[in-house]
């Protein structure tokens, strides 16, 4: 019963994390990066839920934290999308390579 | 016999339920399409479809056969994957909510603890279908339809959830069966008339029905997000839309109109389905009448209506409900 082992969930969470890291470096656009961040956040969520299911004495803790992660992710997505709108308005492009006024 | 003894009865029940529901989807779409055209005709004092069968009763079947026979045209510059996925995406999530709706006391595929939440979350997936279809078509009309769908869905999701919350506060459960059970003596429409009105109006917007049919406004956007679809692609969108209407109407029935409750019938726990369907189809009739009565709203009117009227009213309603329930 693989679905009953903590390790299978943890490995899945690690996979989500590294997929997010890979995408974060690979993608050359703000949206792509944001999407990869969501993957990382989900990895964290899976991790919390897995520990919650197998290790925590009170199973509400992990769920609470995962819900907080979702809330943060929603806020983050809203802000980043409006940020992209602002950047697009200013630079007429949402390619991160062209948006480099803050480059040293 | 070996295989049957392995299969648990629960699984067989679910499979049968899914088959029945898919059949019902098609039948419902055919009936609703016919009713829509007939009522539209009579509202405008013309007979509606008359040619195929007596009073045109076979018209929708013939139309269905025509749509199946047509070629699924894929325009040259569309994103092929997205274009093909979108109709399926609009069709699949509408099957699942029907699994948790209690048609009568014992006719329910599965009673979830969080049934209402389940229906709401499936409804959220449905918006993705419009977006994907509109974007994948690579057509400015479709794209405008998709963008309107987003703004509309986000604006009207909130009053729907808030008006549902008022009912949930009253009976302390998300399970649809228990909500209906709580209405044994009095339907919630009498206790929560404001929530009911808000739910029906926002439900109209949620299903993209006139007067809120901006994502597919025929006269402005030709057909909005499904401009480029033909044949089965179009008919899947069509069935999805009518099933969505059915779901909204049946949730309204469950939450506000007392579900299967009605005058006593023999075998009440099964035949309650008669009352349920009467109520649902009454609401659907009302929706069709609304479509053929009111002109389409403008986009700013649509958003103003949601944010200035529906949201404040549902918040105040929720507050009052909470205070009264706790008193």
């Amino acid at each position: 019963m693989i679905s009953n082992h903590l390790n299978s969930y943890l490995i899945l969470a690690v996979f989500l994390l590294i997929a997010g890291i890979y995408g974060l470096i690979q993608h050359r656009s703000f949206i792509g990066m944001l999407v990869s961040t969501e993957l990382i956040l989900n990895g964290a969520g899976v991790n919390f839920m897995a520990f919650n299911r197998f290790l925590a004495p009170d199973p509400a803790v992990g769920q609470v934290i995962t819900l907080f992660i979702m809330g943060i992710a929603a806020a983050e997505a809203a802000i980043v999308v409006s940020f992209i709108l602002a950047v697009f308005r200013k630079y007429r492009s949402i390619d991160p390579d062209e948006v480099k006024e803050l480059h040293g | 016999m070996e295989t049957i003894s392995i299969l648990p009865p629960e699984l067989i029940r679910m499979v049968i339920a899914v088959i029945i529901i898919i059949t019902f989807l098609f039948v419902n779409a055919i009936m609703m399409g016919y009713a829509e055209r007939k009522i539209a005709g009579h509202v405008q004092r013309r007979p509606g479809p008359m040619e195929v069968g007596s009073h045109g009763i076979l018209q929708m079947i013939v139309d269905g056969v025509k749509l199946v026979g047509k070629e699924l045209l894929i325009p040259l510059n569309v994103d092929r994957t997205l274009f093909r996925v979108a109709p399926l995406l609009s069709f699949t999530p509408v099957i699942l909510p029907l699994l948790v709706i209690p048609f009568s006391e014992k006719l329910q595929a599965r009673d979830l603890n969080l049934g209402l939440l389940f229906i709401v979350s499936m409804g959220a997936v449905n918006v993705m279908a419009l977006l994907v279809g509109g974007w994948g078509s690579n057509n400015k009309y479709s794209m405008f339809g998709a963008m309107r769908a987003v703004a509309q869905a986000i604006a009207y999701e909130i009053p729907i959830l808030l008006s549902m919350l008022a009912v949930i506060l009253m009976c302390n459960t998300f399970s649809l069966k228990e909500i209906v059970g709580a209405q044994q003596n009095i339907w919630f429409v009498f206790l929560q008339p404001v929530a009911f009105l808000i739910y029906v109006v926002a439900g109209l917007a949620e299903t993209n029905r006139a007067p809120f049919d901006l994502p597919e406004a025929e006269s402005e956007l030709t057909a909005g997000f499904h401009t480029e679809y033909s044949g089965m692609g179009f008919s899947l969108f069509f069935i999805g839309e009518y099933t969505n209407m059915f779901i909204v109407a049946s949730v309204a029935t469950v939450l506000f109109l007392g579900g299967w409750h009605g005058p006593h019938l023999p075998y009440g726990e099964y035949l309650g389905v008669v009352w349920f369907f009467l109520k649902v189809y009454f609401l659907l009739f009302l929706m069709i009448m609304v479509r053929w009565t009111y002109p389409r709203v403008r986009f700013d009117q649509l958003l103003n209506f949601a944010w200035k009227y529906l949201v404040p009213f549902s918040l105040v309603n929720l507050l009052i409900t909470a205070v009264v329930v706790k008193l």
Binding site: S3, L6, N7, Y9, I11, L12, V14, L16, I18, A19, I21, Y22, G23, Q26, H27, R28, G32, V35, N42, G45, V46, M49, F54, L55, P57, D58, P59, A60, Q63, V64, F68, G71, I72, A73, A75, E76, A78, V81, S82, F83, L85, A86, F88, R92, S93, I94 | P8, L11, L82, L114, V120, S121, M122, V127, M128, L131, V132, N138, M147, A153
Partner: protein, 195 residues
């Protein structure tokens, strides 16, 4: 192993495949819209995983919030800046970038995997653990009340902030479609006038 368990295991693997497939689409797709759709697929898979971890409520919230809200906001963001068939990502010829991506990912994977497999996890002893949504709600309102309020404040701030950002600063709506520098100049002028 009963038939039920076989089905349950099969579904579990289906969800895992959904997650892996979705995240692969997410990080490999060249067209941004497909990236977000891949994310939606992966998130649906994660929702299924949450179901196996004992929380129906979280499953539904995952679908409602992630697929129903976040993905749609992301798609909205894409619609602003791209046309449908435009290849959004520049063809990745930057080998340095790719090397960095792969090496960091693989290193992180191996390191964390080693940690995961080496640790002896101490399982929870109590059997009467309460996974119901009612218990979760109580925890929210009693134990984690402050965090709960804080997150609502954060969401409010996020909404207000995103509105201000999208409107082009506190000065109000900038509807100019001139080139970036001119718009920036206009904004600067406005800033001077207001101060």
């Amino acid at each position: 192993m009963t038939f039920y368990q076989i089905v349950a295991e099969g579904l579990f693997f289906a969800f895992i495949i959904l997650v892996i497939l979705g995240s692969l689409i997410t990080i490999r797709a060249k067209i941004l819209m497909q990236t977000v759709l891949g994310l939606a697929v992966a998130l649906l898979g994660v929702a299924g995983i949450y179901f196996y971890l004992g929380s129906m409520f979280l499953t539904l919230m995952q679908i409602l919030i992630y697929v129903g809200a976040i993905c749609i906001v992301l798609v909205f963001g894409i619609m602003v800046g791209y046309t449908p068939t435009e290849v959004a990502e520049k063809a990745i010829k930057d080998w340095r970038n790719k090397f960095l991506a792969i090496s960091s990912a693989v290193t992180a994977f191996l390191l964390i995997l080693a940690c995961v497999l080496k640790t002896d996890w101490i399982p929870a002893v109590a059997d009467d653990r309460n996974f119901s949504a009612a218990h979760l709600g109580e925890e929210f309102l009693y134990t984690y009340c402050l965090a709960f309020e804080l997150i609502s404040v954060i969401l409010l701030i996020a909404i207000i902030g995103s509105i201000i950002l999208a409107r082009g600063g506190a000065g109000g709506m900038v509807t100019d479609h001139r080139a970036g520098k001119e718009v920036a100049a206009v904004q600067e002028e406005k800033g001077e006038v207001s101060t």
